[in-house]
Point group: C2
Chain length 147, copies 2
Amino acid sequence: MDAKLSQSLEDYLEMIHMLREEGKVARVKDIADALSVKMPSVTKAVVELKKMGLVTQEPYAGVELTEAGQAVAAAVLNRHMLLKNFLERLGVSEESADKDACCMEHILSAETLERIEEFMGTPKGGRRLNRFKRTMRAPVKARNFVK
Amino acid sequence: MDAKLSQSLEDYLEMIHMLREEGKVARVKDIADALSVKMPSVTKAVVELKKMGLVTQEPYAGVELTEAGQAVAAAVLNRHMLLKNFLERLGVSEESADKDACCMEHILSAETLERIEEFMGTPKGGRRLNRFKRTMRAPVKARNFVK
DNA sequence: TGTTATAATTAGCCTTGTCTAACTTTTGTT
DNA sequence: AACAAAAGTTAGACAAGGCTAATTATAACA
């Protein structure tokens, strides 16, 4: 059932989530434009995501996340925001932070993500790492997807 | 000439560099074992790298980096070590740091790398970022390649 | 209500990167 | 010097992901 999503499918799922959060419909066309790919690529991806039970689709009306899809998408998005905030805290520009977070969100180990969470939980001046503070990053608003 | 290496080719180049630095020969077999791939994959990669003028090959004796190849490989390796050190400084275990550095080294923007260098240049206690200290990471000894 | 424009899908191709199986070449041991 | 073992290459399959071109389905407007 949860056969480990590819980076690519994670991106599609994430984008669908984002569009829906913004109150937009996520039609094949919308997703394609948002990710700078062509519609047939989206169709293929959606077929896969449907197989995995992560989305449903009403042709011409849009793609919706299932319960399971929500969970996965939210997790990816949280990673994205965590990483973006982290990079910005290091002084990286918003644009680069967003672009790099985009890549990193799919590949980092759980351990590294935990250490970064700890780092972010630490006061701005930044003394030392505090192993016991877990901060959950805020939900998310929008985002520039930089293919 | 420098047609932008793929992640995969960067990995091959990097591994060849590492083997040579350790004084080992980098025969197709050695590279394959080190990267946990099969020999035909290496042969293909080496063909590409030769086309790009990054390596030369004496069959059965080993692959050598050209001047240009050296430069590229060293750059990748420096990124790797910088990232690994950085992650370790965040409290990530050596193993995870190495594995994650492996992925990140191919994808991060120049800007992010610069900010990380700055962060690393800052004293251990970690006050605030110092824009003007550039530290070059040490050469490199060995490394666990985690496919 | 029909016609056109837009959305979606299908079919088929391309590239990258991996693999296995089969074959060739070299090495090194006796 | 001969031959087995090891190294290398070639050929061909396959999967993932993207694309274009062509076709089909729906929407929307006159």
